[in-house]
């Protein structure tokens, strides 16, 4: 059956959708467990299960369809208050999720080879269904039902909600048409379809409860609610229906109330409490805000990003060539035009670059979504009670940065739960609430995002860290004695430091804080920790919102050393000075020049590169280079000027060369090496000079 549902695009879209819905389910179930049944949550869950059922049926994925159908049944019971939330129910629902995830994986790798057996989990669901709330089976059920049945609960997707909004805007009526099919009717489901057809003549039926299109023919149904958009008023439609419909014992038509008003009905019987005080406002906003979005394969986005990067590089080359031409033919107007066009293109490329960067931004919430389930499972397995608070999920960040941060954050969360937050008894004894709090927040700050992971657990013991660091020979005892407390705490980021006494399944698997730090630093981020013994620990991670588009372009200062042209990264150039010969001294064999009252060591790269220093001149040309607070003066033979340069690496054949970070093609098509300032500092510190006979 080679149809369009077999195409990789379709499967990709399907898998994407499944992932999304599974995430919704997961969050919903966690919330269900924590806060009990609320109408919004259960509706959300039901909708997600329903969507999954629909799309898996479309894809011909029987197992997923069956499983989600059973889930739907359970959720339906919960929704109708026929089933109480209990640990077994939650566990079963989570188990479903896990099975669905496996199914999804199997489907993605080979849709014709689905091995997972869904019968055990289905049996569990069925088992749950058989244990309905006994009290509700009696007369009371009816009461509740009657009360609630004021309006059937329509499960609406975004499209249907939009339809309703549109209808209301243009002044149409949205009506609920409740029909009781007469007991004598022989074919009730067919009758139901006829009623639907009748209503469709006078308007549009957008939803039906129960869904008569899905239930098998011959099922005994008596009450059906139709959600209809029509020009007619409720009374007129009711009259018409009463006259024209056959085999109908009762017809009731009334305006549709949003599900929000539904949620305000307090269900006294089950003791469910509505937490949300103004749900109507919220839902209204949600419905109003229809965002048009397109799903894009990440690879395509990456490809576009790469292409823009290359475009930027080529544009710089064009600009360079235009300048060369201008120098050669200063009076030619065509060259002026070329420069004009080149500038214009450069503006456009900048905008394109901005646009591409924006498409890569996603809310941190997507990352946060992974945490609730993880925290739940972890705290259950460790018998700890933890309240997870996630703040600032709407903060946007580059998706690559987010992906890269996933593992480090998970590690920090595991640490906080495993080592940070104490067992309930311990907490009670130290006068804390039994339930620990783990707070994860994201906050935009200028061009950075600050992510904090904060627990109210035991905090870190500086003394313990100190002893451990000494034992592991990260610092000597003497060094440790001279360290401030914060410095000692920071030792946890050192390689080979893991404070866990024993290796557990949860943390301390050799993946230490040093890996976390490396990850953060790789992204140009900073991580630091604040801790207070007994009160908790807070990790603060500062990350750039955007990735640099490409590391391939930098502002460079072109210099000459013995007729060889080199480029220095402008951001390492502090200043350029000329010093007469007699102001250059030697201190302990090191040549220095006093610049702004500070002696700066001078370096002739000639000596390190094994090339002659050249004739001494009256003035020595010195480029002061700096990294952090370190300074050195590089003696150069000639200054050419600064320009944007495109960095090319030297390739794997040449590999790493000390003191050189890459090469660039200059406007005259010649090649110049780019000096690596950090490498030069290292060279100067460690290497012996090749030629010293010049002194």
């Amino acid at each position: 059956m080679a149809n369009i549902f077999e195409s990789p695009e379709m499967v990709g879209t399907f898998i994407g959708e499944v992932e999304e819905q599974l995430q919704l389910l997961e969050n919903g179930i966690v919330e269900l467990e924590q806060n009990g049944v609320t109408t919004e949550v259960i509706q959300e869950l039901f909708r997600a299960a329903h969507t999954l059922k629909g799309s898996s049926a479309t894809m011909g994925f029987e197992k997923m369809k069956t499983l989600t159908h059973e889930m739907e049944n359970v959720l339906d019971r919960i929704r109708n208050n026929l089933l109480e939330i209990s640990r077994p129910v939650i566990d079963a629902l989570f188990e479903c999720l896990d099975v669905l995830r496996v199914l999804k994986q199997e489907f993605a790798s080979d849709k014709n080879n689905i091995k997972t057996d869904i019968t055990p989990v289905i049996a569990k669901l069925k088992d749950i269904l058989s244990k309905e709330k006994p009290k509700n089976k009696l007369g009371k059920t009816k009461n509740i039902k009657e009360e609630k049945k004021n309006q059937a609960i329509f499960v609406l997707d975004e499209k249907q909600k939009e339809q309703i909004n549109q209808a209301l805007i243009i002044g149409q009526n949205v009506l609920v048409c409740e029909v009781k099919i007469s007991e004598y009717s022989q074919m009730k489901s067919t009758r139901a379809c006829l009623i639907m057809n009748f209503l469709n003549e006078w308007g549009t039926v957008i939803s039906i409860v129960p869904d008569i299109l899905e239930i098998p023919v011959g099922t005994d149904i008596s009450e059906i609610s139709f959600l209809t958009i029509t020009q007619m008023s409720a009374d007129a439609l009711e009259q018409k229906a009463k006259i024209e419909l056959m085999d109908v014992s009762e017809v009731k038509v009334y305006p549709y109330r949003n599900e929000t008003s539904q949620s305000q009905i307090k269900d006294v019987e089950s003791g469910v409490q509505e937490k949300d005080n103004n749900p109507s406002a919220k839902t209204f906003e949600e419905e109003k805000k229809v965002v048009h979005t397109v799903r894009i394969d990440v690879d395509r986005l990456e490809r576009m990003m790469d292409l823009v990067g290359e475009l930027v590089i080529e544009q710089i080359r064009i600009a360079q060539f235009a300048n060369n031409l201008y120098n050669r033919y200063p009076s030619d107007e065509t060259v002026d035009d070329l420069i004009g066009i080149s500038n214009q293109v450069s503006v456009l490329i900048n905008e394109l670059q901005e646009g591409i960067m924006k498409t890569r931004m996603i809310p941190v919430q997507q990352l946060f979504n992974r945490f609730p389930r993880m925290v739940r499972d972890l705290s259950h397995s460790l018998n700890k009670e933890i309240d997870l608070v996630l703040d600032g999920g709407e903060t946007e960040i580059d998706r690559t940065i987010m992906e890269e941060m996933s593992d480090p954050l998970i590690h920090l969360i595991r640490n906080a739960i495993d080592h940070g937050i104490e067992e309930p008894e311990v907490r009670r004894k130290s006068g804390k609430p039994e339930k620990g709090t783990l707070r994860i927040t994201a906050l935009p700050q200028d061009s950075n995002v600050i992510i904090t992971i904060e627990d109210d657990g035991a905090g870190m013991d500086a003394e313990k860290i100190k002893q451990s660091a000494i034992k592991k020979q990260i610092v000597t005892e003497q060094e440790a004695e001279n360290m401030a407390e914060q410095q000692i705490i920071n030792l946890i980021f050192n390689t080979g430091f893991s404070n866990s006494q024993e290796v557990s399944d949860i943390s301390g698997r050799g993946v230490g804080m040093d890996i976390v730090r490396t990850h953060v630093e790789k992204l140009n981020g900073i991580i630091y920790v604040e801790t207070c013994a007994g009160a908790g620990t807070k990790f603060i991670i500062k990350l750039p919102i955007k990735l640099p588009l490409t590391l391939a372009i930098l502002k460079g200062l072109l210099i000459k050393i013995n007729n060889e042209t080199y480029a220095l990264p402008m951001n390492n150039v502090i200043e350029i000075v000329r010093k007469p010969k007699d102001e250059i001294d030697s201190i302990n064999g090191q040549t220095v020049a006093v610049i702004r009252d500070k002696p700066i060591p001078l370096v002739w790269l000639h000596d390190y590169f094994g090339i002659p220093r050249g004739n001494e001149r009256k003035n020595t040309l010195i480029v002061i280079l700096g990294i952090a607070e370190k300074r050195l003066g590089l003696v150069v033979d000639e200054l050419i000027g600064n320009q944007e340069i495109v960095v090319t690496n030297l390739g794997s054949y040449i590999g790493k060369v000390e003191g050189i970070s890459g090469a660039t093609i200059l406007g005259d098509r010649s090649v110049a090496c780019i000096l690596d300032v950090a490498g030069i500092f290292n060279m100067v510190n460690s290497k012996k000079i090749l030629k010293t006979d010049n002194e």
Binding site: E564, Y653, I654, E658, A663, S670
Partner: protein, 144 residues
Amino acid sequence: MTIMDELLSSQYVAYELAGEKYALNISDVYEIIKMQSITPIHNSKPFLEGIINLRGKIIPVVNLHKRFGLANYTPSKKTRIVVVKSRDEMIGIVVDKVSQVLRFSDIQPPPEMVAGIDGSYFEGVGITDEGVISILKIDKVLHE
């Protein structure tokens, strides 16, 4: 004998290093360009001559004269850079002269030493009417 068959069926680019004739399998050769100014890279491999700009791409150039301990070249009108593709990377080789493209009627396994160079650097020795030409194992020469 399939390897030998393959060697015999190939075409070769013959070139000279310090007066000695050598050959490269034509399938290894990407392009032959005139000598141009080479930007030196100090503190790298001893026989790395430097880097050049090959139509917008920066590629390394090696000095086989140094590699094999031959008398160094002096750039002349005939000096060429043979660009080879080795392990997915383009690498230039400075040669004194590119003489011709040819086939060999016979190829002998390399002797232990070829013109003072370890025989393991060669695929074999090709026989032509004008004499013998040593066929370089370019991957081994460049990478080992």
